[in-house]
């Protein structure tokens, strides 16, 4: 069913809330987009956001972008599609994002039909899948245990295009989806319109990061996609940026393990025959990408609480202290363990030494030290109270630690702040990163419709 010759897609920003210049957005709209789509999430910022149910991008920033997008989409009367709502796309993230959408609608006096698609996986379902051997580690992720599932505060699956298509079938003006496969957020509308899935997904793969695929790249600027039957084209909305073969091809590599085969829900994107062509100064055309359907799998993500974290930041300038650092750190660790021996196994202590190997650890090729170093001491413990006590003890021990040749006996550390210790709060780790086989792609991505009235 090909009913259009070209479809125009507007990707306003790399992540909902990252923003975009007014002029770029207006220029993007001047192309007359058939759909506005934006990816709102990622696992990149680490496990905290999924585990805690909190957004990675601040509320005011997300609301700002949503206001522009809702106004534009309703003025042009084109669908607005948002995937991985709230950053991690679990229930609290989705509810948070939908709340912001309703607030904007009310304040702006706009009404529309909204589809909300949760992506939460019930733990009981996942345990059954584990028993049925329908759950496999993704890449080097470890084998899963039942405890990993039980300990996870939130579990989400990345939906493919099918739930979005169902929402479009149901007449949605605005789609707010939980955790989604990034390219699917962009590819769903074109596939629904009858365009080739391979080209649509590859275009989605580039648009999901908006102008990051341009030169110069930016995560907070708009990219426009034009999809045809045999090819697609991309062009940044901002005239100061260009899409080049190098910038677009390079983006195809980004954050992926194998650039030729990009696996996703229901199949993989095959780029072995992909050709990139510079067809105008700021525009690149891509052809040859194809979609190879495979047994339907989705990626499941989970995060679990691992304790509470407290950190302190200090500098050291004394050459003798720096010279004896390894011995001092070992001494402070030993003293701390001894002092809290009743709490053994309930806490961990870590020293990050900036100026030596704070970024690369044991893989640092040049671990020599300069005239000053930065130290971050980190304590992770079962409770906030214990973490504070351990960190406080380690900090004061290091401050006054005696070492051979010590000449500055008033204190070894320079603290930039009072209070010196920062309560980071709950800490999380990824617990699930596995592929789940599904019989039906819509199995647990129910589509709820809601009339949002001003």
């Amino acid at each position: 069913m090909i009913c259009m010759e070209q479809l125009t897609l507007l990707s306003p920003t790399a992540i909902l809330g990252y923003g975009f210049p007014d002029r770029s957005f207006e220029r993007g709209l001047s192309f007359g987009p058939d759909v506005i789509a934006v990816d709102a999430g990622s696992t990149d910022p680490g496990p905290y956001y999924l585990g805690s149910g909190k957004s990675f991008v601040p509320r005011v920033a997300v609301k700002r972008d949503l206001t522009y997008l809702l106004r534009a989409a309703r003025t042009l009367r084109v669908p607005l599609v948002i995937g991985s709502a709230g950053g991690s796309g679990a229930k609290p993230h989705l509810e948070w994002c939908c709340g912001l959408v309703r607030d904007v609608a009310k304040e702006d006096g706009i009404s529309f039909r909204m589809a909300v698609i949760p992506a939460d996986v019930p733990p009981s379902y996942l345990k059954e899948a584990l028993w049925d051997q329908r759950l496999n580690p993704l890449g080097p992720a470890p084998e899963l245990s039942e405890a990993d599932i039980s300990d996870s505060t939130y579990l989400v699956a990345q939906m493919g295009i099918e739930p979005f298509v169902k929402a479009l079938d149901g007449g949605a003006d605005v789609i707010i989806a939980g955790r989604s496969y990034d390219p699917a957020v962009f590819a769903a509308f074109p596939v629904w319109k009858g365009f080739d899935e391979g080209l649509a997904l590859h275009l989605g793969k580039i648009l999901e990061c908006a102008a990051i695929a341009a030169l110069p790249g930016s995560g907070s600027d708009c990219m426009v996609g034009f999809l045809e039957n045999e090819r697609f084209m991309v062009e940044p909305a901002n005239r100061e940026r260009r899409a080049t073969v190098a910038s677009v091809a390079a983006h195809t590599l980004y954050e992926k393990s194998n650039p030729y085969l990009l696996p996703g829900p229901g199949g993989e994107l095959d780029l072995y025959r992909t050709e990139f062509e510079q067809i105008a100064e700021r525009r690149v055309a891509v052809r040859g990408s194809s979609f190879r359907p495979q047994p339907y799998t989705v990626k499941v993500e989970g995060a679990k609480r691992i304790g509470c974290r407290v950190v302190t930041i200090a500098g050291a300038r004394d050459p003798r202290f720096i010279e004896n650092l390894d011995e001092i750190v070992a001494g402070v660790e030993k003293r701390t363990e001894g002092n809290f021996k009743w709490e053994k196994g309930k806490f961990k202590l870590m020293f990050h030494i900036y100026g030596r190997d704070g970024v690369m650890g044991e893989q640092e090729p040049h671990p020599g030290m300069g005239h000053e170093i930065g130290i971050v001491i980190e304590a992770l413990a079962e409770t906030a109270e214990l973490a504070e006590a351990v960190l406080g003890f380690a900090r004061s021990t290091m401050l006054h630690y005696g070492f051979p040749g010590r000449i500055a006996t008033a204190g070894n550390l320079a603290f930039p702040y009072s209070p010196s210790d920062f309560k980071v709060g709950e800490a999380y780790a990824f617990s699930v990163h596995h592929l789940l086989s599904l019989e039906n792609p819509e199995e647990f991505f129910p589509v709820h419709f809601e009339e949002v009235c001003s």
Partner: protein, 112 residues
């Protein structure tokens, strides 16, 4: 032999999911890329040596023609954000590549 810095315009690392770290090296131009590919100037065993990991932990090492790029993906030392993390995004793990001097049109000289 030639410093990689003279051959490439982009040398970067980044997470590819929470359990993998991926290296992208984009060469200056197609000619340079073709020679690097022909000479296998970058490869899995070299990456393993550079990062002090087992070669089996280099999961892919591949030349990507459309982008004139070499890409290698390694198992992360620890999953992203676990206790002991030093680089959540994995975006500052490229330093060893900046010192690298690679095989460059001197195979015969090496053998003699």
């Amino acid at each position: 032999m030639k410093p990689l810095l003279e051959l490439a315009s982009v040398i970067r690392t980044k997470n590819a999911g929470p359990y993998e770290l991926t290296i992208d090296v984009i060469f200056n131009d197609r000619r340079t890329y073709e020679q690097a590919k022909r000479e296998n100037s970058l490869n899995a065993s070299l990456i393993a040596g550079l990062y002090g990991i087992a070669e089996t932990d280099v999961l892919t090492a591949i030349y990507f023609d459309p982008a004139c790029a070499f890409k290698a993906t390694m198992k992360r030392k620890i999953p992203c954000g676990d206790f002991g993390e030093k680089d959540i995004y994995g975006a500052q793990q490229h330093a060893p590549l900046l010192d690298l001097v690679v095989q460059w049109g001197d195979k015969d000289a090496d053998q003699s």
